[in-house]
Amino acid sequence: MKQTPFTDKHIALGAKMAEFAGYNMPISYTSINEEHQTVRQNAGVFDVSHMGEFLLKGPAALDLIQRVTTNDASKLSPGKAQYSCMTNEQGGIVDDLLIYCIEAGNLYMLVVNASNIEKDWNWISKHNTEGVEMENISDKTGLLAVQGPHAVAMLQPLTDMDISNLKYYTFVKGMFAGVDDVLVSATGYTGSGGVEIYFKDKNDNAERIWSEIFRLGTPQGLKPIGLAARDTLRLEKGFALYGNDIDDTTSPLEAGLSWITKFSKDFTARSILETQKADGVGRKLVGIEMQDKGIPRHGYRLQNAAGEDVGYITSGTQSPSLSKAIGMAYVAKEFTTPGSEVFVVVRDKPLKAQVVKIPFLA
């Protein structure tokens, strides 16, 4: 199993550890509910160093990104980031990712899911016909997400860069906690505000950043948060998780990602997605809220009142903020209207549920 720069810290803190995407990662430190509420109400720190980072450099970098991703990266100026996805030739999703514009037209950082690093690298390399310089810096890059309504105020004293007024999906680069060349971006996967902090994993950078963040944060209630709470936090906000809600067989339009699918430019399988847009898709990713007692889980089937299959659950949990069982599911288009009645098959029993609007938590 691979380690992050912080694996030993998680173990020393007594975290429940498990393998995730080949890395030994903290699942939970105390309790999922407690960690979840810490982020919603105050601030928490996630080690997400397992994520992958690629640098794309050279005059053809933007053109390559435009061809492999669905969003319009030509809109990016230095200091701006963008959520996007890469499509395969069938119009499925290779991965969802963030694109950071470091130098317009010339230098970009792509942040991809840990489980897809190799697949994405090969996919982009295959399309790199114009000699873009590509570097996989995943193993040399540390990443902490400090998330929650009070996160930024806790961290501001650690840098001269103005991070308090960073707009959503923008970033700055510079000295942070005495470490040079740190990228701080107003992004995250919790919907509770905060920043993500990318740094070079060399010398004692990881140790300094971690200890400085907690030196200031601990007296204010900052806590380390595991991947389990990361999952409940993102699910309440309806953020898709690759491998659960989106994958090689789901299209961005089915997944509700038409807002990052721009037909003003060319990209892989554009014509397939254009047809889907014109004709409508047969199924869509929707929110599900249980009416009967039960918790929807990844892979559970959805049925109509007659007991016929109409879809399947992609993610589900007991929402700590709402105290309700919620999930996301692909359902046939006749059932996508909020209020539609569906049945989730939980251990062979069809339990009543309702289609609801995403996000579950505003």
Partner: protein, 126 residues
């Protein structure tokens, strides 16, 4: 991790407190820790005689779900009513307030095949 004396254990991480031909059953400290925050406990087999290893209920936690297996042949006679409103008792006090069911043992001599404290401690590496 707590593994109290005077209880019997199964490899599926359940404990039994034996009193004559009756037993109180719950899940161990190890099990509640593995499951994480428990949302509810559903007992599906009240009043039915079940074989050893048959599913008598399920535990739903935030992150996962797990079946409950009857440790020995018998009949579930009572369900802990407090878990309906306070499922967190299973996390907080797995051997006390977090007990799940009481059961009548079909063959009290079956308890001989269960693990004792020492054997269970080895089983979970405690």
């Amino acid at each position: 991790m707590q593994v109290p004396e005077a209880l019997k254990y199964t490899k599926d991480h359940e404990w039994l407190r034996i009193e004559g031909d009756m037993a109180t059953v719950g899940i161990t400290d190890f099990a509640q820790h593995e499951l994480g925050d428990i949302v509810y406990v559903e007992i599906s087999a009240l009043g039915k005689e079940l074989q050893e290893g048959e599913v008598f209920g399920t535990v739903e936690a935030v992150k996962t779900v797990s079946d409950l297996y009857l440790p020995v042949k018998g009949t579930v006679t009572e369900v802990n009513p407090d878990l309906e409103g306070n499922p967190e008792f299973v996390n907080q006090d797995p051997y006390g307030k977090g007990w799940m069911v009481k059961m009548k043992l079909s063959n009290p001599e079956d308890v001989a095949q269960l693990m004792d404290t020492a054997a269970y401690s080895i089983h979970v590496g405690a």
